[in-house]
Amino acid sequence: MEQVVANGVYLGAQYALIALGLTLIFSLMNVLNFAHGQMYVLGGFITYLVYGRLGLPFVLALFASGATLAIVGALVEKLLFRSVIRRSLREESTMLLAAAIAFFLDAVILLLFGEKERGVPKIVNGVFISDALIMPYDRILIGALALAFILSFMLFMQYSKPGRAMRALAQDRVAAQLMGVRVDRYSMIGFALGAMLAGVVGGMLVVITGVNSGIGGPISIKAFMMVMIGGAGVVGGAIAGGFILGMMESVGLSVLHAYGDITYLVIFTALMVFLSLRPQGLMGKPWG
């Protein structure tokens, strides 16, 4: 039982970070970043390069992943989204752009890193064994790291100037502008931050589960689901959604294991029913 919970918490922390990045971008720009999963994969591959192939310290590799994705995110917002949002008649056009960017990143990743699954050496060896649960040390470390990131993110959003600016922008764009918040600059920062989070999680998980080019799409879908469960555009919702999905996966994989691969069928159907009854998710604002 504790094993299931521990796995759920560990998974949940990772998922929460992914969901946070996605929800940040959504709250600032009303854009669902279809390419979020690809950004995760890119982060994973960069860490693989820096830590796995070049042998540099893991922390440096994580930093490289985060920085690269932050730059990618900033460029994507500044060069692509800004122009399209301004000129399109319907807001759904941004979805096409996001999907095209997802394809583009998929292509780049395939070309640069190939199709093979990549792994890296463990960052710390050994396994924690007790009566109740078995947990490899590296998972504990990564889990703790993820929780630390979540906490820093929340503190950043709550107490720092950019964090306040972005929260204001998310709540009321016009009012924020009237208060002097530079919309363009903070949209870019927000997108960069969201992308960075995805990249960092990718880097963290490559040391546990490896990475391959094909998982971008499924990760994006999982991220969307978490954001929907918790409530789009709400930080608390993303965290809740991440942990809930992590927990559901952990429970499902152990409990439903006997019934074959219907874990996700159950999760998806439950999600659809839940959203029909409560479209704003757990903590989201009523839609509109």
């Binding site: 319907r90 394809f103 691969d261 959203l275 029909s276 839609w287």
Partner: protein, 322 residues
Amino acid sequence: MRKLGAAAAGLAVLLVGVPWAIAATGRDDLYYTLTSVALLSIASAGVWLTFFIGRINIGQGAYALIGGYVAAILVVDYGLSFWLTLPLAGLFCAAASILIGLPILRLRGVYFAMVTLVLTEVVRLLALALPITNGASGMVNIPLPGAIRLFGITIVPDFAKLRHPHLAFYIVSVLLMALCFGGLYRLVHSRVGKLCRSLQQNEELASSIGVDIAWLRVLAYAVSSFLGGVGGAVFEAISQSIYPSSFTVTDSVNFMLNCFLGGLGYVFGPMIGTFVLYFGWDLLFQTGEYQLLIYSTLLIALMLFLPNGLLSLLPVARQSET
């Protein structure tokens, strides 16, 4: 009257001109490509219709899959003629979509989109899990469509006996596409179309003037899903097989992209969009490993220059406004 003439001319080009050109150049492989474009544009038209009532539909792949399976099961397990299963598959999808649509059509924007995204996956997983769909091995060796005979006269020949079933499938698909877009055109330009537009633009206001918005939404979604099911059923007939992976989330996204590219404000948008995206992807096959890179770069470039779709290049007078 002019429009009818233009439509007839277009149909003549497609049904007579194209086969003649293909026979002349010997490019028989083009039949499959063009037939696919026609069928995919029907499914995309369904997605377009959901856009028309103001919803983002990324779940059409689910109905294409359902339609394909229903047609296959009816033909293989119950021995029905394909021509009967075609509308039945569509109707089954429409019925399913009414059940699904009633709760979810209340959602708007990205919320609705996300639920439909999940829908495609759910159907795929169902296809894997249910015994009637034969799980991961799918259904294969599905017989080709049979003949339709009325009063002893063969109206449609037995496909299994044809020397060129590709041409026959092409003709069927083009006719279905013409029916689909003709019907859609009529819808958009009739009062029903105006009511749908009112839904799209302001649901509350529409409600206050007496429009039954819940009913209209469900109706549009049902027609939408019907089109998806029909597309899937014909695909199944051509490939004579259907698998859980025949239509995936990627296909659902592609149907949506086809609509976007052509232009959401234009009835023929999905047709143009499907044509360009499908042919574009096919042509780029020559570039080998750079196919996806060039494809996506072109898409991005297109979005930067024409954020409102390809048909926005047309002079304003010829557009049907959204």
